[in-house]
């Protein structure tokens, strides 16, 4: 289908096939940093930013690899470029805005091992999106990730005041909430088709 509009790609990546709740990508940060609203928002913003940059890089690499006929290098070059990008972004932010750098703290280096980032690069290649399609896909994915993270943080902040039985405290209750959120997001599945 060549007729997929940018808007459809964006809605698809952010709501219908939400990276966290439908594809299970980026579960580690989703469970790890969704405790507080503030950190969740910052993490979401940082991930969206890196996603867009690495998506652009991946598009270039893919074109290059096809040109030199070496598809088996795809995975290795993607991961190296993402790691380098994260490092570069870290340095730039440190130089430009030390305040933002301090507030992001350890989240920036952690993004390298966030599978959602690598998945954006792999999926956009697999689906053969155009340059702008890839951008819309990466932006949608980032927004979807942020949305899931913020929703989760909001619920968990309320959960702190609830009397949760000891045996389900921590990961178990978080997973149950995630399951219910995932059910809710299934309601979007008719959208845009």
């Amino acid at each position: 289908m060549k007729s997929e509009s940018l808007w459809y790609i964006f809605i698809n990546a952010s709501l219908i096939n939400n990276f966290v709740l439908a594809y299970f990508l980026g579960i580690c940060p989703f469970l790890g940093v969704s405790g507080k609203m503030e950190t969740a928002t910052k993490m979401g913003a940082a991930v969206t930013f890196v996603m867009i940059i690495s998506s652009v890089c991946a598009f270039g690499i893919h074109a290059l690899l096809v040109a030199i006929n070496a598809p088996f290098l795809q995975l290795i070059s993607y991961i190296v470029v993402i790691a380098a990008t994260v490092q570069l972004v870290e340095m730039v932010i440190k130089k430009m805005s030390p305040a933002l750098f301090r507030s992001l703290g350890i989240f920036l280096p952690l993004i390298t091992t966030n599978c959602a980032i690598l998945a954006v690069a792999l999926f956009q290649t697999a689906k053969g999106y155009s340059f702008f399609g890839s951008l819309a896909f990466a932006f949608g994915g980032g927004i979807g990730f942020t949305l899931a993270l913020i929703l989760m943080a909001g619920i968990r902040e309320q959960l702190d005041f609830a009397d949760v039985p000891k045996v389900v405290k921590g990961t178990v209750i978080t997973l149950l909430v995630a399951g219910i959120l995932s059910l809710t997001f299934m309601g979007f599945s008719g959208l845009g088709s």
């Binding site: 709740l21 439908a22 594809y23 299970f24 990508l25 980026g26 579960i27 580690c28 469970l31 088996f72 995975l75 290795i76 991961i79 190296v80 790691a83 390298t112 091992t113 966030n114 599978c115 690598l118 998945a119 792999l122 999926f123 697999a126 000891k166 045996v167 389900v168 990961t171 178990v172 209750i173 997973l175 149950l176 995630a178 399951g179 219910i180 995932s182 059910l183 299934m186």
Partner: protein, 211 residues
């Protein structure tokens, strides 16, 4: 020579213990809650879960051995980058191997084979264990952790397939009249099943602590 000796003396646990701990006491999924993404994503049937578990275990064992044998040559500053490169190499091999063995399976697992690269379990074993221990011990550690991962994935995959599809490994085990719980093979079912297993584990641990 001396450092090896001291680690041998200091490391009280025997080699069997390095192997056993990954299976149960430090099970990567149920206890450490590592590498969740593939666990949830491909555990919608027993066969997918088993294939994914074995692929991850293979990458884990090979990368642990290689990281351990290179541990004295890799400079500290670039160690994480080197580990990721080593892991990515093995993952590419596994990716092509699975494609050669079964195209259907490759299609089912999709991008998640490539995503083994960013499985935090593998990187954490390389950093926490293989970079400090001998080759033999690292291999045993990886074998134990890998089998523990396969075991956990199989637990999830079997429950989801039995309830969601009424079958196990594609064989129907319930009579025709069985109403499938479709939700179990959908993404939400993954969260619920994992929550259920973690709940059972916690329950067991709390009871044991009380006794």
């Amino acid at each position: 020579m001396t450092p090896t000796k001291t680690t041998d003396l200091k490391a009280g646990p025997s080699s069997t213990d390095e192997f056993i701990k990954g299976l149960w006491r430090e099970n990567p999924v149920f206890v450490q809650v590592l590498g969740m993404c593939p666990v949830l994503a491909v555990s919608n049937s027993a066969i997918n879960a088993l294939a994914m578990g074995l692929a991850t275990a293979f990458v884990l064992i090979m990368s642990n051995i290689l990281v351990s044998s290179l541990r004295n040559f890799i400079p500290k500053q670039v160690r994480i980058a080197s580990y990721i490169l080593i892991i990515a190499t093995f993952v590419t091999m596994v990716d092509y191997a699975i494609q050669a063995i079964s195209v259907d399976l490759h299609k089912n697992l999709g991008a998640f084979i490539s995503l083994i690269v960013v499985n935090c379990l593998i990187l954490s074993r390389a950093e926490a264990f293989a970079s400090k221990n001998t080759i033999g011990k690292s291999a045993l550690d990886a074998l134990g952790m890998g089998l523990g991962f396969v075991f956990a994935l199989f637990c999830l995959g079997a429950v989801r397939e039995i309830l969601g599809n009424g079958s196990i490994f594609g064989f129907m085990i319930f009579p025709e009249s069985f109403q499938e719980w479709i939700i179990m093979i959908l993404p939400a079912g993954g969260f619920f099943t994992l929550a259920l297993w973690l709940f059972l584990f916690n329950n067991y641990k709390l009871k044991k602590a009380k006794a």
